[in-house]
C-alpha cells in the first residue's frame, strides 16, 4: 500500500466559483494514473467519506488526457461568508493525501 500523496505530482484544492470546492489529484505519468484509477480507492464514495458529505453531492471525474482525477463538492460556507475559513479554498485537500493505494 502507498499513500496517494506519494504517488501524485500534485494534490490541490481551490474554489470553483464562490459556491463550490474542487480537488485535483494529478500524476506524472500514465502508468501511475492508471494504477490509481484501477485501484478503485479514489472514488466518489471515498471523497464523500473523507469530507463527510453526501455521495450525490460529489462530482467526480477521471481525466485521462491530463492523468488526473477530479472531484468537486459544495462549500460548507460560501466563499467569504462570516464562517468561511479558506477564501481561496486552497487548504482543503489534506484529507485526500493518505488514501491508501494498493
Amino acid at each position: 500500500m502507498t499513500a496517494l500523496a506519494e504517488l501524485s505530482r500534485l494534490i490541490r484544492s481551490k474554489n470553483a466559483g464562490p459556491f463550490e470546492l474542487t480537488f485535483d489529484i494529478m500524476f506524472d505519468d500514465a502508468a501511475t494514473y492508471e494504477r490509481v484509477k484501477r485501484s478503485g480507492a479514489v472514488s466518489r464514495e471515498a471523497v464523500a467519506a473523507r469530507y463527510g458529505v453526501a455521495v450525490e453531492d460529489v462530482k467526480f471525474f477521471f481525466c485521462d488526457h491530463a492523468y488526473a482525477i477530479k472531484a468537486s463538492i459544495p462549500r460548507p460556507y460560501f466563499q467569504g461568508d462570516p464562517r468561511d475559513s479558506d477564501g481561496h479554498g486552497g487548504q482543503q485537500y489534506a484529507p485526500l493525501m493518505d488514501i491508501e493505494i494498493p
Partner: protein, 469 residues
C-alpha cells in the same frame, strides 16, 4: 510558428492585468503578429469584498504597469486590445477606475484610439422586472434571491458573453474595457465573429485566459500565445524556456472548474470530452475535436455582494493543557458570558440576533471547519480568532473589547483564583465593512447585449470625445 492564412493569432499577456508578465516574452509575442491582445482583469477569487466595496484586488501601480505595456503594444501593431472584468469585479466604480488609468496612459503616451467601455453593473429596476417575469433562475447551490436581495446588494453585475465584445469590435473599437465578463469571452469573441468553429475558439480561449498558467514549468505570471485555425488550435508560450505538453494543456481545464469537461458559457457549453491533444514540438501543443453545444436559451450569470456588517477581531492563544482539553466547553461558556455581558451593556439597543460572534480555533479545525475529519486535538497550543460582526464598527469594537476581558479571566474548574487564560499579541483589530456573495443565479435576457450598455469614446491624447454607439 509560421503564419498561415485563415488563422487568428492571439496574445494573452498574463492571467490577470496587474499580476505582471515578462517584457521580453511580450515583445517576442508581438513579433509573432497577433491579431489582438486579450487580458482578463478580475475574478471572484479574491472574495466578495471587492464587489461589495468597489476596491480592486491588485494595486493601482501594478495594474498601470501591465496596462501601459499592453496599450503601447496594441497601438504599435494597430491591433485591438480587449480587457474584461475591469477593476476586479466589473462594477461601474471599478470600470471608472480602469477608464481613469486608460486616460492617464493615453495622455502621457499621446495615444489615439477608439475606446469602448462596456458596463456590466445591473440596474435594480431591471433585475426587479426580470425577477417578476420569472427570468432569474438559480444555479446550484444558490442562496435565496428575491426583491430583498436586490435591495440589500451593494452591487450586482452580469457576466457578459462574447456578444458585447463583438458589438464593440463591429463598431470599430480599438481598445475595449469591459466590466464583468466571462474570462473566455474576451478571447473567443473575435474568432467566433470571424466564423472559426466555436469549439476550437472557446477551448483556445479557456487556455489563454490564464496566461502562461497552462505550461509545465510556470515560474511567474507570463504570456501565452495561440494560433486558432479552422479545425484546431496551437498553443505555445512566447518564453522559449516554458513548455506546453498535451498533459499540461489538458490539465488546465481542471483549474477552478467544478467539471473539467463541460464549461458553461452564456451561449452554450464547451465540451472537451472528445478533445485531442498532440505535441507538435517540444514546447507547442495542437488541440482539436473540442465541441461547443449551443444553449437552448441564452443566460447571463449574476454576481452580487451585500454588506454583512462591520467586523472586529481579536487574536489570542492558549497554552494551558487544562484549557486545551476542554476547549469546546470553554468556548461555549465564554460565548454565554459574552452574550450576557453584551445584553448588560447594550440593553434593548442591540438584540442577540443583530450581531454575529464566532470563534475560530486553529490547532483544532480552524482551516477546514466542518470539513475537518480529524477530531482530536494533537497540538500543545491553540490559536483562537474571535470575530464580531455587528451593524456598526463601534458596536463591533465594543463587543470585541468585552470579548477580550471575558476571555482573559474565564475560570476553569482545575484552578482556583483569578486566572489569565489568553495570550494576546495585539489589541483587537477593526476590519471595517465585510461583505458576502448573495447571488448564484442567471438571467434570461431577450438580447445578449441588453444588460451591457456601451460607451464609444474617441481618445486622442488628453481629449476624449463621446461617439454615438
Amino acid at each position: 510558428m509560421p503564419a498561415i492564412e485563415n488563422e487568428i493569432r492571439i496574445l494573452s499577456p498574463t492571467g490577470v492585468c496587474g499580476s505582471g508578465f515578462i517584457e521580453s516574452s511580450f515583445e517576442k509575442a508581438l513579433s509573432q503578429k497577433p491579431d489582438f491582445i486579450g487580458c482578463d482583469a478580475g475574478s471572484t477569487d479574491p472574495g466578495p469584498s471587492y464587489l461589495g466595496s468597489g476596491k480592486t484586488a491588485f494595486p493601482k501601480d501594478a495594474i498601470r504597469r501591465d496596462l501601459k505595456l499592453m496599450l503601447l503594444g496594441a497601438r504599435r501593431l494597430g491591433i485591438p486590445l480587449l480587457i474584461g472584468s475591469a477593476g476586479t469585479a466589473g462594477a461601474d466604480v471599478q470600470l471608472d477606475f480602469f477608464y481613469a488609468l486608460v486616460k492617464e496612459i493615453a495622455a502621457t503616451e499621446k495615444l489615439k484610439f477608439k475606446l469602448a467601455l462596456i458596463h456590466s453593473e445591473q440596474k435594480k429596476p431591471y433585475l426587479t422586472q426580470k425577477l417578476r417575469e420569472g427570468r432569474i433562475k438559480p444555479l446550484h447551490p444558490a442562496p435565496e434571491f428575491n426583491q430583498a436581495t436586490i435591495d440589500r446588494s451593494e452591487h450586482i453585475v452580469g457576466m457578459m458573453g462574447a456578444e458585447p465584445f463583438m458589438r464593440a469590435l463591429e463598431a470599430g473599437a480599438e481598445v475595449i474595457v469591459a466590466g464583468r465578463a466571462s474570462d473566455t469571452a474576451i478571447f473567443a469573441a473575435m474568432p467566433v465573429m470571424r466564423g472559426f468553429p466555436e469549439g476550437i475558439a472557446w477551448h483556445a480561449a479557456k487556455i489563454l485566459e490564464c496566461g502562461a498558467a497552462a505550461v509545465v514549468n510556470r515560474k511567474t505570471p507570463d504570456c501565452m500565445f495561440a494560433w486558432v485555425r479552422k479545425d484546431h488550435f496551437v498553443v505555445e508560450a512566447p518564453d522559449a524556456q516554458l513548455t506546453c505538453t498535451p498533459q499540461s494543456i489538458a490539465s488546465h481545464s481542471l483549474y477552478e472548474n467544478a467539471d473539467p469537461f463541460k464549461l458553461i458559457e452564456c451561449s452554450g457549453t464547451l465540451d472537451l470530452t472528445n478533445s485531442r491533444y498532440e505535441a507538435i514540438s517540444s514546447t507547442a501543443v495542437k488541440v482539436s475535436s473540442s465541441e461547443f453545444l449551443p444553449a437552448q436559451r441564452y443566460t447571463v450569470k449574476l454576481e452580487g455582494a451585500e454588506k454583512v456588517g462591520y467586523q472586529s477581531i481579536l487574536i489570542g492563544s492558549v497554552r494551558d493543557p487544562f484549557i486545551i482539553r476542554q476547549i469546546d466547553d470553554w468556548t461555549a461558556r465564554l460565548s454565554e458570558k459574552i452574550r450576557a455581558r453584551v445584553q448588560m451593556v447594550f440593553g434593548d439597543r442591540l438584540a442577540a440576533g443583530d450581531y454575529l460572534f464566532h470563534i475560530r480555533i486553529y490547532g483544532k479545525n480552524g482551516t477546514m471547519g466542518p470539513l475537518e475529519p480529524v477530531k482530536e486535538i494533537r497540538s500543545h497550543e491553540l490559536c483562537l480568532v474571535f470575530e464580531v460582526t455587528a451593524p456598526t464598527q463601534e458596536i463591533a469594537s465594543t463587543i470585541a473589547g468585552i470579548t477580550r476581558h471575558q476571555a482573559l479571566h474565564l475560570p476553569i474548574p482545575e484552578w482556583s483564583g483569578l486566572i489569565t487564560a489568553l495570550a494576546c499579541p495585539y489589541n483587537h483589530l477593526d476590519r471595517g465593512a465585510v461583505y458576502r456573495f448573495n447571488v448564484n443565479h442567471v438571467v434570461e435576457p431577450d438580447d445578449p447585449c441588453e444588460m451591457f450598455p456601451m460607451d464609444l469614446i474617441a481618445v486622442d491624447g488628453t481629449t476624449h470625445r463621446k461617439l454615438a454607439a
